[in-house]
């Protein structure tokens, strides 16, 4: 607590604020269509800076200069996409910051908001502290992100985290199932290039890439809010799967021991010994063919599924497959369903879980 004067109690007791009885009329909601933010800040220059920043980021901003006003705005207009509270904010209008007392009002406001909506995304700006570990706050608020360095990068990334968290909570069960199955098929498509990673790893990586994907970072994958979160994650999954494939090809990490067999005399031989020498990826070809045969083997008693698989394998579109094999829409959809079900059954899905 080296940054706090010694006369300030470093471990103030936090209490929930008294219920506020306000005579002011309710405010109108601005949260119907745009992203919204509540900014609780009493410093004029910081307030203006943050207001402009949030506006530029696409937020409709409500402003409060003290915690009472902040609470009233939240009660009347909340929830917001994000609530940004300065740790050192006075309680009421006309009051300054009392440096002789523990700064508890910002924290109390955060707790009161959490009481109303436990899932509300909140950021506390505590720039007077050197580290997050030094900021006094009750354990209920330990998960709230702190803005220690007043930088655009930090703030933008905290906002991104809150938006992503909100988007995850907002996913419907069918959207979640779509993402899971989509990732499972991508992993199956990767074959050995997945290197033992499963759909969970793919989805985790997609989210990680999103979080580091600020607008100005080439490494991440920024979530452009014009597309849905599901579409964004789908794109990220595709991109990561493609990267894993590229990395695998570059390294061509096949173990010879995986290909070696023994003849009757116990002598080692490899199936690629008989493949044309000009074939640089002969071993890979054999392994992939084996997996392909295994997949086709699952449908030996289902001629329509086999036809559909052949069509898909040849890169045909739905209309082309339907025309080539004289299938109708219903038969096509039913065969596709049977293929998905069989490939994703626990016996055949090839995942670790």
């Amino acid at each position: 607590m080296a940054h706090l004067p010694s006369f300030i109690d470093a471990t103030p007791r936090f209490r929930h604020p008294e219920p506020l009885e306000l005579a002011l009329p309710p405010t109108q909601s601005i949260n119907a269509s745009r992203r919204s933010a509540l900014l609780v800040e009493n410093d004029k220059s910081l307030l203006e800076f943050l207001r402009r920043f949030l506006k530029d980021e696409g937020y409709a901003v409500r402003i409060a200069k003290n915690t009472e006003e902040g609470f009233r705005l939240y009660r009347d207009c909340g929830p917001f996409n994000v609530v940004l509270i300065n740790y050192c904010t006075p309680k009421s209008e006309g009051l300054g910051i009392d440096c002789l007392s523990p700064q508890i009002h910002g924290v109390q406001l955060a707790m009161a908001i959490r009481d109303i909506d436990p899932s509300q995304g909140i950021i506390i700006a505590a720039t007077a502290y050197r580290t997050a570990g030094e900021v006094p706050r009750p354990k209920e608020l330990m998960d709230i992100p702190l803005l220690i360095d007043f930088s655009i990068f930090q703030l933008r990334n905290l906002l991104e985290k809150i938006e992503v968290d909100r988007a995850i909570k907002g996913l419907t069960s069918s959207e979640l199932l779509q993402l899971q199955l989509f990732a499972k098929f991508r992993i199956r498509g990767l074959g050995r290039a997945a290197r033992g990673r499963d759909w969970e790893d793919l989805l985790e990586e997609a989210l990680c890439r999103t979080l580091i994907g600020a607008k100005d970072n080439q490494n991440g994958r920024h979530w452009n809010r014009r597309v849905s979160f599901v579409q964004h994650l789908k794109g990220a999954i595709l991109s990561i799967a493609s990267l894993w494939k590229r990395q695998f090809k570059e390294e061509s990490t096949y173990l010879l021991s995986e290909l070696l067999s023994h003849d009757a005399e116990g002598k080692d031989y490899s199936p690629i010994d008989n493949v044309a020498s000009g074939h640089t990826l002969a071993d890979q070809c054999l392994i992939e063919n084996e997996e392909k045969d295994r997949v086709f083997g699952l449908f030996m008693d289902d001629s329509e599924a086999l036809q559909l698989l052949r069509g898909l394998m040849d890169g045909l579109k739905k209309t082309e497959i339907v025309a080539r094999y004289d299938l109708d829409e219903k038969k096509y959809a039913a065969a596709l369903r049977r293929i998905r079900l069989k490939l994703l059954s626990r016996r055949n899905d090839g995942s670790r879980g």
Binding site: K161, L177, Q180, R188, N217, Q284, K292, M313, D314
Partner: protein, 136 residues
């Protein structure tokens, strides 16, 4: 390019066939209706609600892992910008903008490594004093 042309062009790509099949099956999942996908998951022997929540948990855990890295570094006084993460062969790498010490992070395991985790940022005090003086 027509179907035959595509086939000819890709005959040299040995893993293309299986990947094409799986990718198209993956795309077909996105076209399913809400009821359709739930029925399919049920028919596959799983509980759709459980599987949906499992997927949400995977996403939340991933969010939490990166948050844990940021929080741990922040508690030590390091300043690591989220947009400073760079992908490497074995995870993501970053460095404290104040003292320059390195940190790496593997999303799949949540494992963190690097000198930045060894202790408090040595240049943090210096920077805080400078920032405070500038604000006066």
């Amino acid at each position: 390019m027509g179907a035959e042309g595509r086939k000819m062009a890709d005959n040299t790509n040995h893993d293309w066939h299986l990947e094409t099949i799986m990718n198209q099956l993956g795309d077909s999942v996105l076209a399913l209706s809400d009821d359709g996908i739930r029925a399919e998951v049920s028919e596959g022997g799983a509980d759709p609600d459980e599987e949906a929540e499992r997927t949400r948990t995977v996403l939340h855990e991933s969010l939490q892992k990166l948050e844990n890295v940021n929080r741990r570094l922040s508690n030590l006084g390091h300043t690591v910008y989220s947009n400073g993460w760079h992908r490497g062969r074995s995870g993501y790498h970053n460095a404290c903008v104040t003292c320059g010490s390195f940190v790496s992070f593997i999303p799949a395991t949540g494992e963190m490594r690097g000198e930045a985790l060894d202790g408090r940022c040595p240049r943090r005090d210096e920077c805080t004093v400078r920032r405070r003086e500038a604000s006066r």
